[in-house]
């Protein structure tokens, strides 16, 4: 049995459905990333778990206990808010101690646990500061300490790195994961940043239009996207449209070639995903899984260059060219491309 079990959860705001019959399981000690665009329902899901919204249907169980009708203050889980929501009239120490106070924790124990939580995020010296005198990164740490001080089994994080500078994000991300391992709590993190989700989580769940479209370990979801949406959202794969041929491949007129996966295409397949970094340049053209095209544009990205190649059939392909493979072809030149069958991922929808 999972720590958190969500079954048939549905919520609509007026006529707009935010969640449509969602099932989700989170194991104890797991770091789950909820990934999706705006309006995908990921924030609604978080607010339903925290208890700030009531579902229209479905149930939420935590450690076997039904939370569905429980008010937020009674739920044994905590949340870190996107805006951090630090109480502006309370010092850092009192912010962190707020939840313990509500539990009636004795003063001595409270102070010890506040100090411990602040030490955990490296903020022990700033217990007396007021929130408006903290930097963005410090605020984030205080918010984290405040949410962890009650030792919840489940911590909800709403875009925890969203308000930080790019250079602070990576470091904080690593710290977040270290903290999760140390506390042993389950983390559910909402994010719209696919890199963040892939980098931090044990498991990624992609939401679209209030539905869970795919869930799994980051590598699996990245390499084998289930739908056009996931393929496009994670790492911007090429999505190639076509029609199945008699030999179990996918005939792509836009590519001017045929795609072939290791196994026959499932019946009804009309599109496949192909990652830019799986396409190799300078391969001999002929047969399935090869194509030729003209380089229309090129962007240098540091360790690789991104090429926009117009295939013979008219489709624009994104192709990654690694620096170690020498200088990229010039704009306007004709290139030949090839890829392994394992790189071709049939899409379900």
């Amino acid at each position: 049995m999972g720590l958190l079990e969500i079954a048939g959860l549905a919520k609509r705001f007026g006529a707009v459905p935010a969640l449509v019959g969602l099932d989700l399981r989170v194991e104890a000690g797991e770091f789950l990333a909820l990934l999706g665009g705006s309006g995908s329902g990921k924030s609604t899901l978080l607010r339903l778990i925290a208890g700030f919204e009531a579902p229209d249907a479905g149930s939420i169980r935590l450690g076997g206990q039904d939370l569905t009708a429980m008010p937020p203050h009674a739920r044994p889980l905590n949340m870190m808010f996107q805006s951090y929501a630090l109480f502006p009239h309370l010092s850092v120490g009192n912010n962190v101690g707020y939840g313990l106070r509500r539990e009636g924790t004795p003063r001595a124990e409270r102070e010890a646990r506040v100090a411990e939580a602040l030490a955990m995020v490296g903020m022990q010296e700033l217990a007396g500061r007021m929130p408006h005198r903290l930097s963005g990164g410090q605020r984030q740490r205080v918010a984290l300490a405040r949410a962890l001080v009650k030792r919840p089994k489940l911590l909800l994080l709403d875009e925890p790195l969203g308000a930080l500078d790019a250079n602070l994000r990576e470091r904080t991300g690593f710290e977040l994961r270290a903290l999760q391992r140390r506390t042993g709590a389950s983390f559910i993190m909402v994010t719209h940043d696919q890199q963040e989700a892939l980098a931090l989580a044990d498991r990624v769940a992609v939401l679209e239009h209030g539905r869970l479209v795919q869930a799994g370990p980051p590598r699996a979801v990245y390499e084998r996207p289930a739908t056009r949406f996931v393929a496009g959202f994670l790492g911007a794969a090429n999505v190639l449209e076509g029609a199945p041929d008699a030999a179990g491949g996918l005939d792509c007129p836009g590519l001017g070639s045929t795609l072939r996966a290791p196994a026959s295409m499932p019946a009804g397949t009309t599109a496949c995903a192909l990652r830019p970094e799986r396409i190799a340049l300078g391969q001999p053209v002929g047969g399935a899984n090869t194509a030729s095209g003209v380089v229309e544009d090129l962007a240098f990205r540091g360790d690789d260059s991104l090429l926009l190649v117009r295939a013979a059939g008219g489709t624009l392909l994104r192709v990654s060219h690694a620096e170690e493979d020498g200088p990229p072809p010039a704009i306007g030149s004709t290139v030949t491309m090839g890829w392994e069958a394992a790189a071709v991922v049939p899409l379900a929808g």
Binding site: A50, G51, F52, P71, P72, H73, A74, R75, N78, M79, F81, Q82, S83, A85, L86, F87, P88, H89, Y98, G99, R102, E103, H132, R146, A147, K150
Partner: protein, 260 residues
């Protein structure tokens, strides 16, 4: 150019007031004429029975109405800023803001007519005076308090109360430990604004008052109708000083805490 405009404007606003304040300390019998420094007109005020009575009534009404306005306006501002949609919200908002835009004569007349009708129907209020003025001023003051409170709460992260709930606070505890402390500066400012508003009002008080209730502004108004005397001058300056302190306090209360 801009600076010149600003200076001229400020001079226009402040010069008459400063002159009035200065000449209140003149010994001359003729107002706005310097006859040497003297406190004689303030002493004359202190000995004026009618004036003291009116001043006492005004302070009582102002303090009472400001307190009532703070409670009502605080609740109104909270409803407008924090409570989600409810049936009649638009009407509630329109009525809450109405006293701000209604001409004073209309507010005064409408409240008086209501008091008269209520008296005819229920026997209450038995007589018009301190109580009716207090209620009228509280109605006007509450509208100002509501605006200040609403603005303050609107500037605050709406997630704060949710964060408190998440950390184990019941709705009542979240209100007491988070919302109320955040509202506090605006409540203090609102109280002081309502207090000065009450202390400054002639029109509404004249309508809703009865023969027994003459507030200080009503007295000053009836005296000013006959022109300015050194005594009224001194009285005006006393009122000015009180209102000045209250308004300054209100602005400080809001200003000092804006960094939160």
């Amino acid at each position: 150019m801009r600076r010149l405009g600003l200076c001229l404007g400020l001079a226009f606003l402040w010069l008459p007031v400063l002159l009035l304040a200065g000449y209140a300390f003149s010994d001359s019998r003729i107002p706005f004429q310097w006859g040497g420094f003297s406190l004689r007109w303030f002493q004359a005020l202190a000995a004026n029975e009618r004036m003291l009575e009116a001043a006492f009534l005004s302070l009582r009404v102002a303090a009472g109405s400001a307190t009532l306005a703070m409670l009502l306006g605080g609740a109104t501002g909270w409803v407008l800023a924090r409570r989600g949609p409810f049936a009649g919200r638009a009407l509630f908002g329109a009525l809450a803001g109405a006293p701000l835009v209604l001409p004073e004569v209309v507010t005064g007349l409408s409240l008086l007519l209501t008091f008269v009708m209520l008296q005819g129907l229920t026997g209450w209020p038995a007589e018009r005076g301190a109580t009716t003025i207090l209620l009228a001023h509280a109605t006007m003051g509450a509208a100002y308090v509501a605006v200040v409170v609403q603005a303050r709460l609107a500037g605050m992260d709406g997630m704060l109360e949710e964060a408190a709930r998440d950390l184990g606070a019941t709705p009542a505890t979240a209100f007491r430990t988070v919302t109320l402390p955040l509202m506090a500066p605006s409540l203090v400012a609102g109280w002081l604004l309502a207090f000065t508003l009450s202390l400054d009002d002639v029109v509404v008080a004249s309508f809703v008052s009865g023969p027994a209730g003459t507030t200080l502004p009503m007295l000053v108004f009836s005296m000013l109708r006959l022109g300015l005397t050194p005594e009224v001058n001194a009285l005006a300056v006393a009122i000015l000083l009180l209102a000045f302190l209250a308004a300054g306090g209100a602005m400080l209360a809001l200003w000092r805490r804006t960094e939160l």
